[in-house]
Every structure is written in C-alpha cells, then in structure tokens.
Symmetry: C2
Subunit: 367 residues, 2 copies
C-alpha cells in the first residue's frame, strides 16, 4: 500500500474512526485503525460493538492494507506539519509515514485478522437531517440507565412509526422522550441502541442540515453519512411501553422560563450534596415556586416567578434529574405538569409534543 | 459583619485567594476563606505556606469577620446572578448570602482561631514590572526538582545583586536561568522560594506593565500588588552555586529556529516512551541536525536546518528536557552550545544573556 493525502484530511478521518477504537483491549489489533487503499482510501475503527468507516481523499499509488496502533498513529499525524503525508507499507509490514523532513517507521499488523464490520441489508431505511437526529440523541441520552441489572434500559429506544421517529430513554426514576417527523415512505420498526454507542455517535454527527440515511436490521443499525458510516450493535429484548408511563392528566400546571428555574435549581443543588440525596422542595403557589433545601451544610431558598394553573402543591425532587432535563431544552419557556405530591411530573414544550421529560418525586418530610 | 458588594468583584477576589486555601486539611478552618470587614473588605486564604490577601470593593454596613468554607462559598457566588450580593453574619455565626431571589444560610466558623499571616518588615524591597517577574517564574519553574532528598532544589533561587535579578531552578539533570534588570536602588539578597508556591504565584501575577514591590526577610517573601498581597514561606539552606555549573566554553555552536527544533523534538518524543527513557540522538553537521530515535515501537528521523560553528558532534538527550525549555522561549531563533558528546549543552538567546538553559546529555550506544 502506498498513498499520499493531506494531513488535514487524514487527521479528520482519524479523529472520527478513533471513537470506535478500543483504548484497552486484550487484542492489539482492536486498538488499531485499519487502513485500506483500493479504489478509495478508507480508515476503519471497530470495537466489536461500534464500527466506523471513513473515506479520506488520497492519491493511491499502490493498493493494500495494514492496521496501525490508533493512539500512536493519531498522535504522530496530529503533530506533523500541515502538508502532504506519504503512507507506505513495506513487505515486512513496517509502515513508513513521511511528511516534509519527518520520517517515521512504525510496526504495522497485517490486516487479515481484523474483524469484518457486520454487513447491513439496506431495508428499513429512513432519511433524516443530521442535525435533527443529533439533537434527538443529545436530548435523551442523559436518562439512559447505568444499572446493568436491566440491560435493556442501558440503551435508548428508537421507534419509527409511519412518519414519526421517537427516541426514549428511561432509567427507573425518569424518562426522556424526543419526537420528530420524517418525510419519507412509511416505516415501522423499533430498535434499542446501546447508550455507550449513542454517546460516541452524537460526537460524530454534525449540527448540519444535510440528510443522512439510517438502516436497521434486527441486530445492527447503520448511520450512513456518505463519506462516513457508523454501524452499531443493538440491544436485544422488549423495551418498556413508555406510553403507559407518561401521565396524561394533571392537577397543577406551571409555566416558567427555562433559564430561571434551571439557575435556581443549580444554585440550590450546591448544598444538597448528591451522595447524601437531600431533595429540594418545590412549594408551588399562584405566582411563584419557592425552591428550598435544608442540609447539614446550610439552607437555601430560591424564588422563581411562574404562572400556575390548578391547585397549590408541595413536592420534593432530586435536583439533578430536573437540571439534566432543563439543560437540553432549547425553548425559552416550558410547561411543567404535576399530578400530585407523590406522583410523577412532566416537562413539556408549550405548543407541541416534540419532547417530554418525566420525573418521579422524592418523598419529603412534613415540616 | 454586613457588607454589600458586586458579584463580579467578589468572585474576582475569591478566585485569587482560593489559590492559597488548603483543599484538604485536618483543620476545617484552613479550608476556609477569612472574610473581614473593617475600613475595607478583605478576603484571605492561607495554607500556612502561602498566604494571599485581597481587598474587594464593598459597602460596609457593619464591621466584623467570619471564616467560610472556600469551595462552598466560591461555588455559590459563582452561580449567583450578576448583581449585588449581601453578606451578613448572624450572632450564631450563620452567614446569610443574598442576591436577587436567592437566599443562602451557611454555617461560618468564628475567625479568632484563623492563623495570622506572617508580618514582613518592609526592607530588602525591589520594584519590578508584574509582567517581567511573571515571565521570569514561568520560564524557570519547570526545572524545579521534585526530589525531596535535596529539599533546597524543590525551590527556585531568587537572587538580587545590584540592579540584576536572577531566578534559577536546578533539578540535577538541567538548569533554567532567567535574568532581568531593575531600576531601583541596589539590593543584595538571595532567597529560595518553594516551587509549589511559585506555581500558584505565577497564576495570580498578570501579564501587565504595572509595577509590584517584592519584600523579603530571612523566612518570608511578600509580593505586594496593592489590592492583593501574596506572602510565601522561604526554603532554608544554601542554594547551589549555579555560576560554576554553566559551561563557558564550547566545541560546537548551532543557531536554529526555536519552532523548528521544538516541533521535531515533540514528534520524535512520541515514540521514545518516557518511562522507558529512550533518548533521542542529535547528529550535528554543518547545515542540519538529524534527530533520531529507535525504540520498540518504531523509528523516527527528523531533519532540522541549522547553522553550525565548530566541529560535528553526535550526542543523546532526554527529549523532554529540551522540549520544556524550548516551550518557554519567546525568541524566534536561539543558539545551542555543545561542549562535547558527554558534556552539558546550553541554550542561550542570540544577542543577550537574559536566559540560559543547561541540559545534561544521556550516553548513547554507538551504532
């Protein structure tokens, strides 16, 4: 193999595929990036769960392939001058990397034992703006469970139903849901994508209006961005019926500026000392919520101006659950629906049903 | 105590004095910031080695003092709205912090047991631009020893002789020296400032042309910036006679662009794997240095264009020692003086004697 490409394009490709490379594996080859030069020059990273392929513009002098340690290869290319880079594989699998007056010779690993990425049948496809699917993941990922006792909840449900796409995460204490409509032919399927791989995919997706195609089979999902393809294993099993969990009625509705209640909760949470699980108390009246907490460290009282519909209410929450949901909301104003002082509450946008965050309360002592 | 001040000024003061607060101490009071309102409002942080006082513009309603946990106080103030902050100490030592609709009540510690900062006699003073002393520390601190077996070398020597000020750090493998002239009356003294406190002082000093006054006694040094004062304990003992260490003659002199040799060494060091202590080899000829290294990981060869005076030379170095020195040099071009293939080399500016970095070589195998 012998290729010449710009340092700039090469490092772009490396940065993307590195997200799928194991940083510590018992197999040295899984800590590597596969370089393949055929008609095109392609980089691949694959940790057997998440796989990423990326094409890099290059002048291909000789075809061939090799695997290079991802960290070493990335560190070297990152430090090269901004110029043309030559990569050449010698018969003994040594790899020459040359750029201006720099000359490296690294040990490569023959590519024959590099695991093949799963091939995905191009059915169950839908087309969506890259920006939209990125936001949908970003706005739900934080509620994925980290409890391995219910493995299915360590992933997010991606549901395609007619022209609706929904992503849902549930961790037993809260639910995050984000919905969007797609313009292509009707598709009906449900898959559960591991949270770990969603965390990486969301870093690769760009906030651009270009469209990407998503294909899914029973076991795998493929995000196809043209020059770059991301394949992920899916979780097996039935996801929770989220529709039955989200309450439809409410006792008290509060309209509030997102930023106001977020700032107050962030301040209040400073003295709730997460590990001790002190809740914050919401005291909801007509024109304000008083958020308060009393802990060993001290006491805090925050007033937030709101518009309340329905009855007054006292209710307690783990402030982190509220903060994480409020942080990903782009709307200036939101509605919060409360069922009772011991029932779940739901955060929704004012005018549509694009998202819903449901949070279970914490029982508070009466003072 | 009752004071009102702007959040902006308060957080500025907290950020500065926090650098002298113990993050983990057996005494809760040492993890605190001392707040004192008399004629002025003053914050103090002191870990018994480094002490910082800072005045904050404030409207003082009642005089008094209290100690508040530094982390908690800082975190709360940082998150307050950008507005006026009221701080009030109640008779039970509770402290009210109020800002717009936020109301905190924290437990304070009475200030009587807060340790007093050492008082410094105002003798042995010199006046220097804040920017200059900051650069002098920044350009020498990295060569301070971390080996506790020779405690004196864990600090930097500050030497005032007539109108010259010199800072020197030596760790047994290298030496960093930076010199400057001051315009005030002649002073003669030597002190050794602990590296740990220099690391904090350099963060507090600003790159501005304002002058600061430095006072020293036998045991303490005081950096007086007017609104803000930093006191540090000094190390006891005789520092090395650095003048006898720096070679004055040379066999080979190389003139090189700082950036060129730095980039090449940074790339070469990627495969030298610090913990294994592989050296890089300099092969110096008339017009170039070839920097090379051969390790388990692979091989690297870098060519750097230079102007050489004197004889050709092969010599080996720990690349990190060169890189750390080159990184703090602001000059575009430098001279490097080599004595022999087993003797120390010295990096100097082209046209003056503002700085000198001396590095001991590593013996390399002949190939």
């Amino acid at each position: 193999m012998k290729v010449i490409c710009s340092k700039e394009h090469l490092i772009e490709g490396i940065n993307i595929v590195q997200k799928a490379v194991s940083s510590k594996s018992t197999l040295a080859i899984l800590e590597g990036i596969l370089l393949e030069a055929n008609d095109l020059f392609k980089l691949t990273g694959y940790d057997l769960e998440l796989g990423i392929e990326c094409y890099v513009d290059a002048d291909i002098r000789n075809t061939g392939s090799i695997v290079l340690n991802s960290k070493m290869f990335g560190d070297i290319v990152r430090r090269l001058p901004d110029s043309e880079v030559l990569i050449e594989v010698l018969p003994n699998n040594s790899v020459i990397i040359e750029c201006e007056n720099s000359h490296f010779e690294l040990k490569g690993i023959p590519s024959d034992t590099y695991p093949a990425l799963p091939s995905i049948k191009k059915e169950n496809a839908f087309i969506i703006e890259q920006k939209t699917i990125r936001d949908m993941i970003r706005q739900t990922i934080f509620a994925v469970s980290i409890d391995e006792n219910r493995p299915i909840l360590t992933g997010s449900l991606l549901e395609c139903k007619d022209k609706n796409v929904t992503i849902v995460s549930i961790d037993g204490f809260r639910l995050a849901l984000r919905r969007s409509t797609v313009e292509n032919e009707n598709q009906n399927f449900n898959v559960v994508i591991p949270g770990k791989t969603l965390n990486e995919i969301v870093k690769i997706l760009q906030p651009v209006e270009e469209f990407i195609t998503i294909y899914s089979t029973q076991n795998q999902i493929l995000f196809d961005m043209g020059k770059c393809k991301v394949v992920s294993r899916l979780l097996e099993g039935e996801y929770l019926n989220y529709n039955s969990i989200i309450p439809e009625e409410y006792e008290t509705k509060v309209r509030v500026k997102t930023k106001d209640i977020l700032s107050s909760l962030e301040r209040a949470s400073l003295i709730t000392a997460e590990e001790k699980k002190y809740p914050v108390k919401f005291n909801i009246s007509d024109e304000k919520i008083i958020i308060s907490s009393n802990t060993e460290i001290g006491a805090v009282r925050e007033e937030v101006r709101v518009d309340t519909t329905g009855s007054k209410l006292d209710i307690g929450f783990n402030p982190r659950y509220f903060i994480e949901a409020l942080k990903v909301i782009d709307d200036e104003e939101i509605d919060i629906y409360f069922t009772s002082s011991i029932g779940p509450c739901t955060i929704r946008p004012i005018e549509n049903n694009d998202y819903a965050y449901m949070i279970l309360p914490v029982r508070i002592k009466n003072e």
